[in-house]
Every structure is written in C-alpha cells, then in structure tokens.
C-alpha cells in the first residue's frame, strides 16, 4: 500500500510540470505563417474536382493560455467589442455561434482580420502586429469552444455577461469553408 505513494507523488509532480507549458510566455514571438493570407479559401467553389482545403496554419498560440488571454485583452483594447460585443454580436456578426461566413479555420479568421470583409469589417493590415492577430484568432476561436478547454480563459475580471470561454459548448462550424467534415 505504502509503495504507491512515491509513484503517485511522482505522477502528480509530472502532471504539474506538464501544466507549465500552456502558460509559457513568449514576448517576442514570430507569427506562425505570415504567407497564409494569400492561400486562404473563403468560398466553397474551387476549380477542378479536388477541394483545395484550408492551408496549413498551425496556430501555436492556440496551445498557450497566456496568448489566448492576451488575445482576449486585445479583443477589448482594439475595440472588436464595439461591433462583435463579447462574442454575441451586434453591429457585426456573433462569434460565439457555429456560423462562420468566411470560415472557421485559424487561417480564415486571420485573413478576415487583415483583409477586412464587406459590410463593415475594416482591414487591420499594418495596424495590428501579426503575432497579435494570431492571438486574437486564438481567442476568437475559443469563443465558440474550438480551443482545448485547458487553454481557453476560465473567468473574466468583469461581471459575467456570458459564460467563460472555457465552458462554452463546442460548436461545429458551418459556413462556406472550414467545416469539420471537409477538414478532419
């Protein structure tokens, strides 16, 4: 019976150490893929028989709780809340549901922020540094539960107007591209 205790303690220690990674803070990061914007597909129509699919855009910010919480701060500071509210939408479309007009993949959202979209979404190219755009992308995806729950922000500093991102139900993206059926 007593023999279990050291191994249990060891396992617990290792688990705690593993938890450190998601809080790693990188202050001078480079964006994961700055060329992604030219290859993002926002329409389901494509030439030929084979669908192009979303470009590979590994957003490592989606694995860092610090980056996602920075994304949340920037989402408010850069006044995304002015149109999208805290994800519920208003002037702009809601971001906490499963409807993605221009796609739900990180590359799609990145392109939407940098290029702007018709009917009101301005272009933030050159205004927001690329790595911060990726942080905002990570946060926007956490709004509809598309991020691992251990990374998404767990509670707000303000009074709750919506459940914390961590307890948002996972949404299945619909929309033109970026459906989970086409990109498993």
């Amino acid at each position: 019976m007593r023999g279990y205790i050291p191994s249990v303690l060891l396992a617990a220690g290792l688990l705690i150490l593993a938890g450190c990674k998601r809080e790693a803070r990188e202050f001078r990061p480079s964006p994961p893929a700055s060329q992604v914007i030219n290859t993002v597909q926002v329409s389901g129509i494509n030439p030929g028989a084979n669908p192009v699919g979303a470009p590979p855009a590994p957003n490592y910010y989606e694995e860092s709780a610090y980056a996602v919480s920075q994304g949340k701060t920037l989402f408010q500071q850069y006044n995304c809340v002015g149109c999208h509210a805290n994800g519920g939408g208003g002037i702009g479309p809601p971001l906490m549901d499963n409807n993605w007009i221009y796609g739900a993949e990180p590359g799609n959202i990145y392109a939407t922020i940098l290029q702007g979209r018709p009917n009101g979404m301005p272009s933030f190219r050159n205004r927001i540094p690329e790595y911060q755009v990726w942080e905002i992308v990570a946060y926007v995806r956490s709004l509809s539960g598309l991020l691992p729950k251990d990374v998404a922000p767990s509670r707000s500093d303000q009074l709750y107007v919506k459940p914390p991102e961590q307890s948002m139900p996972k949404q299945t993206p619909t929309g033109v591209t970026g459906t989970t059926e086409t990109q498993p």
């Binding site: 202050f27 001078r28 500071q77 850069y78 006044n79 050159n126 205004r127 927001i128 540094p129 911060q132």
Partner: protein
Amino acid sequence: MSTLARLLLDPGGALLAMFQGEPGQHHILHPAGPQASNIEWLYWVIFWIVFVAFVLTILGFARAAARSRTPAHEMVPVIKDTSEADRRSTWAVGSAVLVTVLALFAVLVMSMITGKKVEGLTSKQPITIQVTGHQWWWEVTYPDPQADQTVTTANEIHVPVGKPVVILTNSADVIHSFWPPSINGKRDLIPGIGSAFWIQVDQPGVYHGQCAEFCGLQHAHMGFSIVAEHDDAFQAWKAQQLKPAKEPTDPEAVHGREVFLTHACIMCHTVRGTDAGSRVGPDLTHLASRAMLAAETLPNTRGAMAGWIVDPQRVKPGNQMPPNPLQPDDLQALITYLQTLQ
C-alpha cells in the same frame, strides 16, 4: 555599484549616502513637503528609541560576556538567602517591561498623531489630479468640468509649489501603489475603487516615485516623477498641455505622422489633433515635453525612443507595447515627428 558592495568597500560613504541621499533619488529622509516632514519626524523618534534599546541590549550582553567564569570547585550547592536577589531581579524585569510597554504606547500615539497630520491637509480650492495605474505606467489627468480643459499626460505629474493637491486614485487592471517618498507615504490604487488623498510640495524640484505594490513582470520599471514648480510655470505648463498637437511643417515630420497613423501606434495611443484617439496606451500629444520614456525607464532621447519603438519587449519584457519592425527611414521620420510634440 550595489548598495551591499558599497557598504563593504566604502562603509563611511555608503552610510553618508544613506542619510544624505543622492541627487535624483527618492528618499524618505529628504522631505519636500509637510507630510513627508511629519513622517520623517516619526522616523527619527522611532530610530532613536530603537537605537537606545539596541545600545542597552548590547551593553547587557557585553557585561554578561565580560564576567569571569565560576571555577568548578566553587560550584557547590550552597543554601543561602536569595530573597534580596529575587527582589532585585523582579524589580529589574518589571521596570523593563513597563518601559517597553510605555515606549510602544508612546510610539502608537505618535503614529496616530502623525497620521492625523498627514491626512489633515485641506484646502477649499485644491488642484485635483486623477492618477490611474496601468501595467506598467501611470495615466495622469487633470479633470475639469469643461471637457476640453482636461489635461491628459503620463508618468510626469506637475504640481504648483506650496499648494495642497488632491490625488484621486484608480487602477485599470491590478492593484498598484503610488509612492513618492519625498512627499508622502504609499497609497494603493485599487481597480474599480476610487480613493483620494492629499499631497503638498514646498520646494521646487523633481521628485521620483515608484509603484510600491507588486503588480506583475515590470513592477520595478513603473516609476513616475512629480515636478514641483512655481505657480506661473505650472499654469504655463498646463496651458501648453491643453493645446492639440502641433501641425508638423518639416516634410520628414509630416511623413512621420503618416507612419504613426498607418501603423500599430494608432491602435493604442492618442495624439490630440489627429485621428489617433485610442486610450489603451499613454497619451502622446506632448510626448517631447516629458523627460523620460516608458514610465521613467529610458531618457527621452532619439536613440532611446528608437530602441523603445522597435523592440520594447527587450527593455520591459511582458509590457503591452508590441515590437514595431519599421523600415529605417520610416522609423527616423516617426521619431522626428514625435520629437516635435512639445
């Protein structure tokens, strides 16, 4: 040189510096206002009480250590009358306890009196300054019922000499603490809970202050300065700060403003008189009138400003300003523009 190294190499000089202070350093023993004078008075009272207690304790130890040992053959149990010794030790211990209690009580009363004096500053027509703590800088506004008469600046607080000033406190994120040692004690800035306290500076000069409540990675680089000047100079400063940013005439500065308005700067900073109006970072309308950058971290020079703009995360890792990899001529033009913001 660190204080410890100085204390080892040059103890006399280090002690002298401790009590005299060095120019430009904040120092509780160099009060510049009535409140800091009261606090200094209390400091010296407590210092001398503790000093006397220290000397007496050391003398007692020295006396005990100097007594010769009792030889072994004399250590035989002897029954003798100890009532006289008992009475003496009871008296000694009793009086020591009494003196200690009285001294502590006196210190308590004096602390309360000093507290009353420090808090008791009032005036019918004070100057009001709102100080809001941010990670990791100080937002300073001089509120006015008329909105266009409100001055907004950062990290540099100008006050007129000899007049009581009300500081209203608040915080935008976490708890900070406002501490100008030559002027007053510390006051916490609690997010969402405003409070107010008074300061008064009697001698013109620049007094440094520091955040005194650990508030995150760059807590140590969260300084501010209080510039005390005569009333006419203060009014002139305020009138200048109320003006919108000067329209640049130099073509390079015009290009610099273009850079400012088309890059990340505009997302966070305000320059009144232009399209830049975000309140996330410090107001830069009169940036060139300030002596320091980045909450008293860098001098406000061309080179330091370039370093700060290009790679602020090297100077203050973790702060909210992102790196700005600008083209060299854009950067030069931007700095030229920022230097015109007097």
